[in-house]
């Protein structure tokens, strides 16, 4: 790859675009830490959480769910044939969470106090405390889960083997933490029945967020596997390539079932609050677009795709699901939040806010490219074959 330090030129189009975006990120960093949030965001007194929470935090965490879904499928539910998908998924999850934490340093007012809720004065009545604690522990867990790849790369056998023995407890711990913070992110909004539109507000928000994180994670694994397949084909060993189609078919069955369950939970939430009458409004049309277009449609596409072994259809379903999860998180945090305010007081992200999110994603992709080009992610290290 072009990031490798060989004779190839670094001036590829991808690298130039990356460099430009990283430079813009630097500008935003300077502005944020000299002029405050006013300098870069459209946040105001009525709209305290913007794109950096709605996208970078909520979508980031939901889309990084591939880590716990894949590792639990392989190590807990005994689906060993997905083993080759675990490392890429753990890597993506780790980078996703690390970047969530990174982005939070820009959004909160005093990033140097981010550890206060855990080590200084815990506010245990807050669901945000729960999110903070779980994300803190989970980033650490993911780092440990990912570390064998790094130690194999560095040739540190003893450390690698010691950590490898912890795989099962780490996986269980990861699922517990993921269940907790995926759901708590939704539960954050249970506190605001008066601000969130009834079609998105529900006492079941915690369950809705948790259940939807499962297809989100599975779809991201399919989506990302598809994207990674071409550029890193030469890095993938025979096991990875042989299992690839099986992973896609298996995950699409899982995604179809979990999307179906998510759809049912959505309906139950709707019925519980008796919100049917809102369906006839403009908000109802928007809700239907989200639920029919980005939950029910990909659910059926996944089901048909896995039945007929139609890989392109499955890939489209994955893309739709990912867009649908982003749409849902943005609906809850931004679009249907403060819906009663007059349009002049509503929030729309600034150019810098959008560019910062692009910057964070680019940063993630760049680190991903660096790692998969070097460490045993898509292939098994020759020294550790049959070691699992």
């Amino acid at each position: 790859m072009s990031t490798e330090n060989n004779n190839k030129s670094l001036m590829t189009p991808a690298n130039i675009i990356t460099a430009v975006i990283l430079a813009i990120g630097l500008v935003i960093t300077v502005l944020r830490f000299t002029k405050g949030l006013t300098g870069v965001t459209n946040l105001d007194q009525n709209n305290p959480w913007g794109l950096w929470i709605g996208f970078d935090l909520l979508c980031g965490v939901a889309l990084a769910a591939g880590g716990y879904t894949t590792s639990s499928a392989c190590y807990i539910f005994g689906l060993k044939k997905y083993h080759s998908a675990v490392r890429p998924a753990i890597l993506t999850a780790f980078l996703g969470y690390a970047l969530v934490v990174f982005a939070l340093h820009y959004d909160v007012g005093r990033p140097y106090r981010l550890v206060y809720p855990i080590f200084y004065q815990p506010g245990t009545t807050s669901l945000l405390f729960e999110v903070g604690l779980c994300v803190f522990l989970y980033v650490t867990t993911l780092a440990v889960e990912f570390s064998p790849a790094m130690f194999e790369w560095l040739g540190m056998k003893n450390v690698r083997n010691a950590i490898h023995k912890l795989t099962l407890p780490l996986t269980v711990f990861g699922v517990v933490l993921s269940t907790l913070h995926q759901s708590s992110l939704g539960a954050l909004y249970i506190a605001v029945p008066s601000k969130l539109h009834p079609l998105w507000y529900s006492p079941y928000l915690a369950i809705l967020f948790f259940v939807s994180s499962i297809p989100a994670g599975l779809s991201m694994v399919i989506f990302e596997g598809t994207l990674a397949h071409k550029p890193w084909h030469h890095m993938m060993d025979k096991t990875h390539l042989d299992e690839h189609e099986g992973v896609i078919l298996g995950f699409s069955r899982g995604a179809a079932i979990s999307l179906g369950a998510y759809f049912c939970v959505k309906l139950v939430a709707m019925a519980y609050d008796n919100n049917w009458s809102y369906l006839a409004t403009g908000w109802g049309a928007w809700w239907l677009l989200e639920v029919v277009g980005f939950v029910l449609a990909p659910c059926l596409m996944y089901a048909i795709g896995s039945r007929e072994k139609n890989i392109p259809l499955i890939k489209w379903a994955a893309a739709l699901t990912v867009v649908g999860i982003i749409l849902n998180r943005l609906n809850v945090s931004l679009i249907a939040f403060n819906w009663q305010l007059p349009s002049s007081q509503r929030y729309f992200p600034s150019f810098y806010e959008i560019m910062f999110s692009v910057f964070v994603v680019t940063l993630g992709v760049t680190i991903y490219r660096f790692i998969v080009s070097r460490m045993p992610i898509f292939f098994e290290h020759p020294d550790y074959k049959d070691a699992h």
């Binding site: 007194q45 639990s72 005994g78 809720p117 245990t124 009545t125 269980v172």
Partner: protein, 354 residues
């Protein structure tokens, strides 16, 4: 501090449950507020929109001077809200009988949303009724602003590294220090539209005013029940929704609303490892059983093959034996026949043969 403990128990705090300390009381609580807690009663029928309360608040809290002087009433033509430099504002609304005014500031909830959602406990509900903020622990996450149903807390967005959340304190510090006997806004009001006193007394005053002049007032004390009750109370001649107060907030406080999801947290931590471990164990056992079954099947197949082979061999031996016997018999028979023939021949010749 007591208040903090109370809020802590509300969440069936995950930590308490996991560490297994003292009896964690579940959410079957009812909190009637601190006895003797104070508050303010706002009477909309008396407010003339002079903005003297805004000026009084600004002075007592040493806030920065406003862009337009407090005497400028044209400011009222636009609806405003509290911000990082303004703890209170008066807004003008269209009432039944001409313009109506309503003062806006922190309502000092009896069970404050901001305090319950803060992940560093930066907010405290004090026994005197006020809700105060501690900037020395605040991280600046702004969840308090998201959670406040009245949109009160404001943030110093242009401060890059030490932004604070700003809001009315009911002049808690000034009253504690003895600099004030009542909040600055109440003191400044020329029309007695604001009354400072014990919340219980204020409720009685409000009821008395409504019952004395039922034609003048809406029959409701806003803040008595809203969001679990607030220490700031409102009575009005116009429907509350017409003076910018939402009537759809309900009577449940935020701590009560979120106690359900909070109480589930320790359960997930308690049950998931067992469930997941169970699933893992079942799969492990399945694999083991499958492996054993495979082994047994192989063994059986081998044994069967062996038995079959032996049977075949035995049959082959038997066949060989039979063939051999038949051959012998045949040979014997032929020898006998030959002997018979020879005997006949010999008989014909008249001699002994064989």
């Amino acid at each position: 501090m007591k208040r903090r403990q109370f809020l802590g128990l509300l969440g069936a705090a995950g930590i308490t449950a996991t560490l297994g300390t003292t009896k964690a009381q579940a959410s079957t609580h009812s909190f009637e507020g601190y006895p003797g807690a104070k508050g303010v009663l706002f009477d909309e029928t008396r407010c003339i929109g002079c903005r003297k309360c805004e000026a009084g608040c600004n002075k007592v809290n040493k806030l920065p001077a406003p862009a337009k002087p407090f005497a400028d009433l044209t400011v009222l033509n636009q609806e405003r809200r509290t911000d990082e430099k303004t703890y209170t504002v008066v807004n003008k609304y269209r009432g039944k009988n001409g313009p109506a005014f309503r003062k806006m500031q922190c309502n000092h909830c009896m069970e404050p949303a901001c305090a319950s959602v803060c992940f560093v406990h930066a907010f405290t509900k004090n026994p005197d009724g006020s809700v105060t903020y501690d900037p020395t622990v605040c991280v600046g996450c702004r969840y308090c602003m998201v959670a406040c149903p009245f949109n009160i807390p404001a943030y110093e967005y242009s401060d890059p590294l030490t932004p604070r959340v700003m809001k009315c304190t009911l002049c808690h510090d000034q009253i504690q220090k003895g600099e004030q006997t009542m909040p600055g806004c109440v003191e400044a009001c020329p029309k007695e539209a604001l009354t400072y006193g014990k919340r219980d007394d204020l409720l009685q005053i409000a009821r008395a005013r409504i019952s004395q002049h039922p034609e003048r007032y809406e029959n409701h004390i806003y803040g008595e029940k809203e969001m679990g009750g607030t220490n700031w109370l409102y009575i009005s001649g116009d429907p509350f929704k017409d003076i910018g107060l939402r009537e759809d907030l309900g009577s449940k406080s935020v701590p009560e609303i979120v106690s359900g999801p909070l109480s589930v947290v320790p359960m997930v931590a308690a049950l998931w490892p067992a469930l997941l471990g169970g699933v893992w164990a079942i799969n492990k056992r399945k694999e083991k059983v499958a492996a054993e079954e495979q082994k047994a099947a192989v063994k059986a197949a081998r044994a069967a093959a062996k038995a079959e082979g032996e049977a075949k061999l035995a049959k082959a031996m038997e066949n060989a034996e039979r063939d051999k016997n038949q051959a012998i018999e045949r040979e014997v028979k032929r020898a006998l026949e030959e002997a018979e023939a020879a005997k006949k021949d010999a008989g014909d010749d008249g001699g002994e043969g064989a």
